[in-house]
């Protein structure tokens, strides 16, 4: 028995030392490659100018330039496309969807889609490992043990879902997500699967649907993908909250005390989002009537700015509640004010305000009118419905 214990004790440090050695070798290789790349970039003029031209091409956003650049390599075009995708993954701020569009155009939609998916997966894996090998130890040193444990626990439980959400949201950089995931303790295969699944819709959209849908419809499609991602986000938050409540309850039970939970007050949150949006619309429409303001500012931002500010303030004041009566009166009053402020342009001004703030004038005002109408109706019913439901529950 003693012998076995001794063997275990001897093997563990050996494994640890081997792991550490491998890590240092990995670091050496990555840093060596980086240094080599930097030396070549500055020492070889043709490489310097070629990389400059590639970055310029990405920055220009010119699809035709990208197309011609990849196409001129003939049978090597697929390899060049893959290398470009990896390059853009490591040099984070460059947009990848140009390559996806070009691949679909050059090799056909499904072949292009597969190529884009595979190459972006290679890029994501490389970013993940670069961050893990170079940065993980630094994170461990910077964070306190308690904080690190909490973060680790969160990522172990919800990491995959977080990656999936980040991949679905087009405005979050793919490469930053990969680097960030590498810094956490989440396992590689979890990252790999979530990335693969999350990346698929964007690949398909840009390869197939992207070619068919134009401006507004494409944006609406992306909007639906965002909606889907946000729905997953809500589920993750709810799960995290439930787990935390359960922990507190168990701790209270162990201490022999009683823990009373308030739960997530959805009714309160929804009615705050809804009511503050109405105020923001009225303020935005007033701002639209001030020529000096419209000349100097994008007044659409006034709407979003006031909305966010009012929402933050009302959320911070936890005791503040907007009941059914308040929501109804606010809706009617805001509606009347909107009519007064917009006048005969009622079908254009509110929609124009919202559209301007999003800088999306390629989408017609009709679309924004429909979204606004849906928001007012759904928001009103949701606010009132949730409050009624909450009060009924209380009475029971």
């Amino acid at each position: 028995m003693e012998n076995t214990n001794e063997t275990v004790k001897n093997v563990a440090p050996k494994d640890e030392a081997k792991k550490r050695r491998n890590k240092w070798i990995g670091r050496g290789i990555i840093i060596g490659l980086f240094v080599l790349a930097i030396v070549i970039y500055f020492a070889v003029p043709s490489v310097h100018s070629s990389i400059g031209a590639i970055i310029e091409m990405f920055k220009s956003g010119d699809f035709d330039r990208m197309h011609d650049f990849i196409a001129k390599y003939g049978k090597w075009a697929m390899l060049v496309s893959t290398l470009l995708m990896i390059f853009q993954s490591i040099a984070a701020p460059l947009p990848a969807f140009f390559i996806t569009l070009t691949n679909a155009n050059l090799f056909g939609w499904w072949q292009g889609c597969i190529l884009s998916w595979v190459s972006s997966m290679i890029g994501a894996v490389m970013c993940f490992y670069i961050a893990r090998i170079l940065g993980r130890d630094i994170v461990e040193k910077i964070c306190t043990k308690g904080a690190l444990l909490q973060i680790e626990e969160f990522f172990a439980k919800y990491g995959k879902k977080c990656i999936l959400i980040a991949r679905l949201l087009p405005f979050i950089s793919f490469d930053v997500v990969s680097y960030a995931a590498g810094l956490t303790a989440m396992d590689f295969w979890g990252f790999f699967i979530a990335t693969g699944v999350g990346q698929m819709p964007a690949c398909i959209v840009y390869s197939y649907v992207g070619g068919m849908l134009t401006g507004g419809a494409r944006l609406m499609f992306m909007g639906l993908v965002c909606l889907f991602a946000l729905a997953i986000l809500v589920i993750v938050i709810k799960q995290a909250f439930t787990a935390s409540e359960k922990r507190k309850m168990e701790a209270a039970k162990a201490a022999g005390t009683e823990y009373k939970t308030e739960g997530i007050n959805i009714a309160r949150g929804v009615s705050k989002v809804y009511n503050t949006a109405l105020w923001a619309m009225v303020v935005g429409l007033i701002a639209m009537r001030v020529p000096s303001l419209t000349a100097a500012w994008n007044v659409g931002w006034v709407f979003y700015g006031v909305w966010i500010l009012a929402l933050m303030i009302t959320l911070l004041i936890r005791k503040l509640d907007f009941g059914v009566k308040f929501t109804l009166i606010n809706t009617v009053a805001s509606g009347i004010l909107t009519f007064v402020l917009a006048g005969s342009a009622i079908m254009r001004k509110p929609a124009g305000l919202v559209r301007m703030g999003l800088c999306m004038s390629s989408v017609s005002l009709d679309v924004f009118n429909m979204i606004l109408a849906a928001f007012v109706v759904v928001g009103l019913f949701l606010s009132i419905g949730l409050w009624t439901h909450k009060n009924k529950k209380k009475d029971d």
Binding site: L213, T214, G215, G216, A217, M220, F221, G223, L224, L227, A231, M288, P291, S292, T294, A295, N298, G300, A342, G343, S344, A345, R348, K349, G352, R355, M356, C359, S361, S362, V363, S364, L365, D366, V367, M370, I371, A374, V378, F381, L382, G385, H389
Partner: protein, 213 residues
Amino acid sequence: MKKILVGILAGVMALSLCACGGGGDTSDSDVDYKEIITDKDAGTVSVYGTVNGMFFDQSTMHFMVYEGGSMAEKCMVKAFADSQDFYDAMMEIGGKPGNETTDKIADGEFVKGQPVDVTITWDGQDDPVSWEDFTKLEDGSKAKMDFVFGGNKQNNETAGSGCIACNNSCWAGITSNKAYAFGDVDAMKPGVYLNDKVAPADGTVVKVTFTLK
């Protein structure tokens, strides 16, 4: 409760999809809207853009702005082509830019340059419509029109506004209407609007032609 939420979500998605269908696709695959069309003999440069219906009810000093410019959301017609390329095209057909300012001009000042005529056409409207008919003043009357090729390419690049044509004199617009001084339209003296009796609906692709005089 879950059923209600799912129902609402489905309703919003259905509405969004309807909106997708009714989005008013104005694209025409045969035409490259990014292209700037030049005709040296006729002395014309034409640029494509989309009408921003917001300015039927809102005054703006920006008539046509490149979609990548900082003023793209504040103009009557959002152009597909870059203002810098538009300047080069105007030079190519023999335009003589004013190039008089190297910096901002003050409110009340005017821009100089070769006079330019501005007309607009769109699908179903082959006869060119003059800028003075395409726009209107607050009382519905015609605005005064005296466009010039101000040039000022460097100013345009520095400002990053993407301005191709301004409704009053401007130091950053490649062309601008010197019938009004800089700052006039922003100060509502007078306010300039899209003319809802003439101009096409929001999102319609139009071709704006600049003719050297």
